[in-house]
Amino acid sequence: MEKMVQSMMKRFPMIIGIGFMLVVLSVIIGAVNASTAAEYYAFEKASRETNLELAELLAGIESTGIWLPYFKFLGLSMILAGITMALGVIATRLQKLGMEVMSIVPPGARMNIPPRPRSAMWMRIWMILGMMVILIGFVVSLSIAGTAFTVYSNPVVAIDSASSGSALLNGLSAVHSAKGWLEGFKFVGVAFLFMGIVNGLATILVALKFQKQALPQVVDKLPAVPSATAGD
């Protein structure tokens, strides 16, 4: 399990690359959506509110506006997860560095390498939790976007004249209420990922503090080295 996690951690450049690509892709989708919106609003209000083809344009604009932010956050989260993984690799490398250096030190001067601090475990937990929250938010946003597409495919006059309790108004209410609570997923997920980064940095600090304390003690216990030349 640990080996699998370590090999996953080493792939952080790939995760960062994919994340950045998702953000670039969201810019392209955003630009297309912006053009569609410009095309839609160039029509006069009466046509916009009654024409069925224009209603489908609006449905596309509204539904993209719901899922696209979560897609962007998915990309950003992958970049943040990549940073956390890079910190994990650095912490592991520091531990390996300590072990390898101690292996060449004479047994009398050797010091025990402390076990991995708890923050290393928390770093992984926060990262996984953050990614899960963001992924759930993205999946839910896709479902809400589907509902929004169905609702806004109807002309605005049909939506405005829908009677209470109708499927159209129920759909509209689902879309508007989801916009309120769905927002939380993005920021809670990113907050969890930042917690992962904080714990990763704390792990590195623990390793560096140990090295700072251990190195003078090890050097102090090393056997004496003969002077190079008498004239020195």
């Binding site: 630009a31 410009a38 609003y41 160039a42 890079a86 560095l97 056997p223 080295v225």
Partner: protein, 123 residues
């Protein structure tokens, strides 16, 4: 002290690339702020402030008023992902700097392994 030790040597692709990402981040966010302040804010003020709802609702296709509305719908939808890309570029820059550390640690380990046996007190 040699120059090599006092400056950050850009020996990995990540260290060579990170200033580009930081610059891209500043450029994208700066561009978005400029467009918002110089174009969207005055345009919005004119469209909603100087035209009553009746005039706005009765604007015919091809008029300046509807062109303004189209622009007011287009820019925010384009700028939001661009700002996000700018923030992502900043974070990728940070990630590139972090990614250079494992290689530097490897070289430090090799140096330390060679130097440590020579660090004992001189007899």
């Amino acid at each position: 002290m040699s120059n090599e030790l006092t400056t950050l040597r850009r020996e990995t692709t990540g260290l060579k690339m990170f200033p580009l990402f930081t610059l891209a981040g500043w450029s994208l966010i700066g561009f978005a702020i400029l467009i918002k302040a110089a174009f969207l804010a005055p345009s919005g003020a004119i469209y909603w402030g100087e035209n009553s709802k009746a005039i706005r609702d009765s604007a015919a296709a091809g008029t300046i008023l509807l062109d303004q509305l189209a622009a007011l719908a287009w820019w925010p939808r384009l700028l939001e992902p661009l700002i996000f890309l700018g923030i992502a570029a900043f974070i990728v820059g940070i990630a590139l700097q972090f990614s250079a550390i494992p290689g530097i640690l490897d070289r430090r380990m090799m140096g330390l392994k060679k130097a440590l046996p020579l660090m004992g007190r001189r007899s």
